[in-house]
């Protein structure tokens, strides 16, 4: 039995905030990103970043951490009162990690929101088109080829992220080629099905490699669970250009996502080029996701939880969902990472496990509050 994605609609979501019976005279205004929510998102990012910098095995006062950061700005000289080793913890150890968490969280949440719009399915996630399986295969191949060379170090050396990135892109490209094989009718459903096939194929390749190189199992496993432990700014440098590109393209096209939600015929009838828009959006979101996966492994559910919560709170227009997903996605993952490295310190929980702990029940709630309607 098949369920068309467009048949699943949210029920029980709060009434539209613009629908205010106490003020019947005032006509409602169009959906847009409300300044209040934007401000809330910025505050969330700042607070999450400060918490991520200040808290840990050595907890430092928020004010001093903020002062230490401000001191980095050109022309600003503030004595934060931190000792040199404390300042090193903040700037050398925690800052790259917090920045990476912000970038990865923002990219995954943005890509998830984008895919949900492109595929008109509220449960679409950024790994849908084979990114996860492709990256997993790439990483496994690199680790297996390295043999025991990288063994012992949980942080993979640079070739693993690059191999994961390449694998992810290869998988998405293959998905797109297969999805286009049907001819002119490159519908969202065709792409999704191609994604399923490609994911299965790459997962099989990965399993085959794991069987052949059983000694790499441990490393691959820890990579798959996701982690934000950095070795300085290298990961940030790798991710940044792709994250910026993905954000720029998706945010510029956010109004088109609202039009695409009407369906392809309607979007074309309104003067859009739905296949071209979808292609651009999918390429941008996939590039961002592939880069995020390459540096952090597979961190699940961020791309579903964050855009969904934002949609429920701030309205269903992609014009607000996408920018807010960037902010709250970054904040969410920074806090999740903080929890991952503090709850069972000095041991670190894999962050993918933590987001799945939060995400799986959330997923069930979403499923229970959506219903199918016959249209």
């Amino acid at each position: 039995m098949t369920v068309r994605p467009s048949d699943v609609i949210a029920k029980g979501s709060p009434a539209d905030p613009r629908e205010d019976p106490s003020r019947p005279g005032r006509p409602p205004a169009p959906a847009k990103l409300r300044p209040g929510w934007l401000a809330a998102g910025v505050v969330a990012v700042v607070l999450a970043a400060l918490a991520g910098l200040a808290l840990g095995p050595a907890s430092l006062p928020f004010g001093s951490v903020a002062a230490e950061l401000a001191d980095l700005l050109p022309g600003v000289h503030i004595d934060s009162g931190l000792t040199e080793s404390q300042a090193n913890i903040v700037l050398q150890l925690r800052l790259p990690r917090v920045v990476l968490a912000l970038l990865v969280g923002a990219t995954l949440a943005l890509a998830g929101g984008c895919y949900q719009g492109v595929f008109r399915n509220p449960l679409a996630d950024p790994y849908l088109l084979g990114v996860a399986a492709g990256a997993g295969f790439g990483a496994t191949a690199a680790i297996a080829a390295g043999g025991g060379a990288a063994a012992g170090s949980v942080t993979p050396s640079l070739p693993v992220p690059l191999a994961a990135f390449t694998g992810a892109l290869a998988a998405v490209a293959l998905t797109y080629l297969l999805g286009a094989a049907g001819g002119r009718d490159r519908s969202p459903a065709t792409l999704l099905l191609a994604g399923v096939a490609v994911s299965a194929f790459f997962a099989a390749c990965q399993t085959f490699l794991l069987q052949r190189y059983a000694d790499s199992l441990q490393l691959v496993y820890s990579w798959l669970l996701g982690r934000l432990a950095t070795s300085g700014w290298r990961e940030v440098q790798l991710l940044l250009p792709y994250a910026v590109f993905a954000a720029a393209v998706v945010l510029l096209l956010r109004r088109e996502l609202d039009v695409l939600s009407l369906g392809d015929d309607e979007a074309a009838g309104l003067g859009l080029h739905p296949q071209r828009s979808r292609y651009l959006l999918v390429v941008a979101a996939s590039l961002g996701t592939a880069a995020a996966v390459a540096v952090s492994g597979l961190i699940g559910f961020v791309g579903v939880i964050v855009p969904h919560t934002v949609r429920l709170l701030a309205g269903a227009s992609y014009r607000s969902i996408l920018p807010l997903s960037v902010l709250f996605g970054g904040a969410f993952l920074t806090l999740a990472d903080l929890a991952a490295r503090t709850v069972s310190a000095p041991a670190e929980l894999p962050i993918g496990v933590l987001t799945a702990f939060l995400g799986a029940p959330f997923f069930v709630v979403v499923l229970r509050t959506t219903r199918r309607v016959e249209l």
Partner: protein, 270 residues
């Protein structure tokens, strides 16, 4: 009857062929629709009614030529086309969580710069459109909370907000009871008179089709089988031949009324 003052051509179709998935669906269609005219396409299931509307809307690859208001469809840019023709599909998608106002505002897309946002004028057009369709009270409501009749009016509002002089309506009332059916069709008729719109529709209910349209086009097997004012098309012989239906045609105040009757020669079971 067509008003001679409005006889400028809104749609001119000649030699239109459409092939979908290797199957010819429309073959050699010729049709002229005058500006301000209401033409309804009828025909048995699979005759090509929706395909013809989608082709006129510029949504399908085709052979032959279609021009809208004297401009060849193939030469129009997408946005130009969207300002000339607006279409309401048979069962449009209902985007979850979207408010009526935002839905209708999407109809202004052809006027909004690619990376820009709507102007105050666009919002004003939307409010006017909602008011003229008696929908102002629904502006903040989510689309999925509306009844079928209300939704159909909202779909129509989105098409009207597009400001196009040609309206394509694919089975606009097939999901509605007869009361709401009349309400929507009277509304369309009023709007086309007020705004000078041209309407090209497809319908299943022959009596209703005949009551509202200036002319009917009977399609069968992808070809035009008959075209003309309703009394010339809704005849016992034509309907028997093309629908394989046995009907009575009764003269009505606004056009012929078609009533299906039991086929002769078949006795009820038992």
């Amino acid at each position: 009857m067509t008003d001679p003052l409005l006889s400028a051509s809104a749609v001119r179709i000649s030699g239109l062929d459409v092939v979908l998935g290797g199957t010819p669906v429309l073959r050699g269609i010729d049709l002229d629709v005058a500006a301000g005219e209401w033409v309804t396409v009828i025909g048995p299931n699979g005759a090509g009614k929706s395909t013809m509307l989608r082709a006129v809307g510029g949504l399908l690859a085709h052979a032959g030529s279609i021009s809208l208001f004297g401009k060849p469809l193939s030469r129009l840019r997408r946005r130009e086309r969207a300002r000339l023709v607006a279409m309401v599909a048979q069962s449009p998608a209902v985007p979850p969580g979207m408010a009526v106002l935002d839905y209708v505002l999407l109809g202004r897309t052809p006027y909004i710069p690619a990376l820009g946002r709507e102007s105050a004028a666009d919002v004003a057009v939307v409010h006017q459109t909602l008011a003229s369709l008696d929908l102002s009270g629904f502006a903040g409501r989510r689309l999925e909370t509306l009844s079928g009749g209300e939704r159909q009016r909202v779909f129509l509002a989105r098409a009207l907000a597009q400001g196009a002089p040609l309206l394509l309506l694919d089975e606009p009332t097939s999901a509605l009871d007869i009361g709401h059916q009349q309400e929507v069709l009277e509304l369309v008729d009023r709007l086309r008179r007020d705004r000078g719109l041209t309407v090209l529709a497809s319908m299943h209910d022959l009596s209703v089709a005949g009551e509202y349209a200036d002319r009917l086009v009977l399609l069968d097997g992808g070809r035009v089988a008959a075209v003309g004012p309703p009394p010339e098309v809704l005849t016992v012989d034509l309907l028997a031949h093309h629908y394989r239906a046995q009907v009575k045609v009764i003269a009505g105040e606004h056009g012929p009324l078609v009533v299906p009757v039991r086929r002769a020669g078949l006795t009820p079971p038992g």
